[in-house]
């Protein structure tokens, strides 16, 4: 049995909404081994975004524990958590780049946070931009880039801190299928060359199919199924997984007809 790198135990989170409360997460327990590409899939409202945001405590769970590499994040002091977060990278659906800063300055930002001297910052940032194929855009501003390019900048930015974990919150949901493929390939390449554990949140089966080695299916805040991605894709047991696979097939048919 592989040892868990990210271990989530009995995680619960409830939001208060206008009409009562919403249980976003109901006692989720999950273990993610090191060096996997772990997909978490579910329809909107399944709680997957809340779950991934609990992994770096952007969201504080009501109860449960989040253990990363043997360290219980909820027991850390504010300052310890701040330092720990520097090694847990996160990329977002809407990229979240600094709009008033150049591409190069955006990639330098995490290094600036860590107090790395300007010259070294720039060197490292340029090298990362090269890695994501955007060295010619260093002086451009995010508004001058396409969605796919923006996400590549975000990936370069997240790699600047040499993270051991990369969390992807619907990172390809705002992109077209072609660009999605490019970004997923880039993530896979990063995983293969740098050995980073990747957690991907998505509502699209094809994202899982493309790069995930393991997966979990979430439905209305509860864990439905968890295990090898290949296994679940071939032989889904839960209703939610079957439904998600069906959606994908219908989409493919429409693609074909269209």
């Amino acid at each position: 049995m592989e040892t868990a790198y990210i271990e989530v135990q009995k995680l619960s989170k409830t939001y208060s909404a206008k009409n009562g409360t919403v249980e976003a997460l109901k006692e989720i327990s999950l273990s993610i081994p090191q060096n996997e590409i772990f997909g978490i899939i579910g329809l909107s409202g399944a709680g997957k975004s809340t779950l991934v945001r609990c992994l770096n405590l952007l969201e504080k769970p009501d109860s449960g524990t989040v253990i990363i590499n043997g360290e219980d994040l909820l027991t850390l002091s504010k300052e310890q958590l701040r330092i720990r977060r520097q090694k847990i990278g996160m990329i977002f659906q809407h990229f979240n780049l600094l709009e008033q800063q150049t591409v190069l300055e955006n990639v330098c930002f995490p290094l600036e946070i860590r107090g790395i001297p300007v010259k070294q910052r720039k060197e490292k940032a340029l090298q990362l931009l090269k890695q994501v194929g955007l060295e010619d855009k260093a002086k451009a501003y995010p508004s001058q880039l396409s969605g796919g390019q923006k996400q590549r900048v975000a990936i370069a930015r997240v790699l600047a801190n040499d993270p051991d974990i990369l969390l992807c919150d619907e990172a390809t949901s705002a992109l077209d299928p072609e660009t999605t493929k490019i970004i997923l390939n880039l993530l896979k390449e990063i995983h293969d060359t740098m050995g980073i554990t990747i957690v991907i949140i998505t509502h699209e089966m094809k994202v899982i199919q493309e790069i995930c080695t393991q997966m979990a299916v979430l439905h209305k805040g509860s864990l439905q199924e968890c295990g090898s991605a290949e296994e679940i894709l071939k032989n889904p047991k839960s209703k939610a997984a079957k439904r998600l696979l069906m959606i994908k097939e219908t989409e493919e048919e429409t693609d074909y007809v269209g």
């Binding site: 770096n56 952007l58 701040r82 330092i83 720990r84 977060r85 520097q86 847990i88 990278g89 996160m90 977002f92 809407h94 979240n96 780049l97 600094l98 709009e99 008033q100 800063q101 150049t102 930002f109 995490p110 600036e112 946070i113 860590r114 501003y141 508004s143 801190n161």
Partner: protein, 219 residues
């Protein structure tokens, strides 16, 4: 048309008006900028929510903002005397002007900083940024265009207030307009000073907008 003494008086008026407006705005920002930052941080969606601090500042700002400037001017006379030594003239007017500008600036800064995309702030938190870094690099850095537009609006408002100070001998173009136009029925002088005020406001507005546009890289 205008004799030399008149011209000198007008030039002095322009100088006094600029002196009052710029210095009061500057001092206003020394109080208002931190005020706006604290309001943004302590609001319920901010990065350091604190209901009590937010409520207290919110109420203070609302109260001071609802006092008409002319009344504030009179209310602050003892304080002005304490700080400047006298209660009339351009320098003395800077005191009430600063107090009128600060809460307005606090609100303007708050509204500018709250325009910053929450996602970008979250990204900075996820990178392990300190609060200071988030304030300066993310909040102020990303909102700089909006902040500059705010400065332009504040300058125009403060200039308008400074003209009102003419009623109590505050100096500047407003003072001239009131003394000659209102007390002595010299419509010509009043109109000329008015034109100067309009031109100054236009220039500040134009320059401010130009600078804001230059600094904006969002499109």
């Amino acid at each position: 048309m205008l004799d030399k003494a008149m011209l000198e008086m007008l030039l002095e008026g322009i100088r006094d008006t600029l002196y009052m407006t710029l210095l009061s705005t500057f001092f206003g920002y020394i109080i208002g900028l931190p005020l706006g930052i604290v309001l943004t941080l302590t609001d319920k969606d901010g990065i350091a929510p604190n209901k009590i601090i937010y409520r207290i500042l919110d109420i203070i700002i609302n109260i001071t903002r609802s006092i008409p400037f002319l009344i504030l001017l009179i209310l602050l006379i003892p304080l002005t005397k304490l700080i400047v030594g006298k209660s009339y003239g351009a320098t003395a007017t800077i005191v009430p002007l600063t107090f009128a500008a600060a809460p307005l600036i606090g609100r303007m800064v708050e509204s500018s900083l709250k325009e910053v995309n929450q996602g970008v702030i979250e990204a900075a938190i996820s990178m392990g940024a300190r609060k200071r870094m988030i304030i300066f690099k993310v909040l102020i850095g990303e909102a700089r265009t909006s902040l500059l537009v705010g400065v332009t609006i504040v300058l125009g408002t403060v200039l308008g207030y400074s003209a009102m100070a003419g009623v109590v001998g505050g100096g500047g173009l407003g003072d001239i307009a009131i003394r000659y136009g209102y007390y002595r029925y010299n419509t010509k002088i009043m109109l000329i000073t008015l034109i100067f005020i309009v031109v100054i406001v236009q220039l500040m507005q134009g320059l401010g907008m130009l600078a804001a546009k230059r600094l904006d890289h969002r499109r």
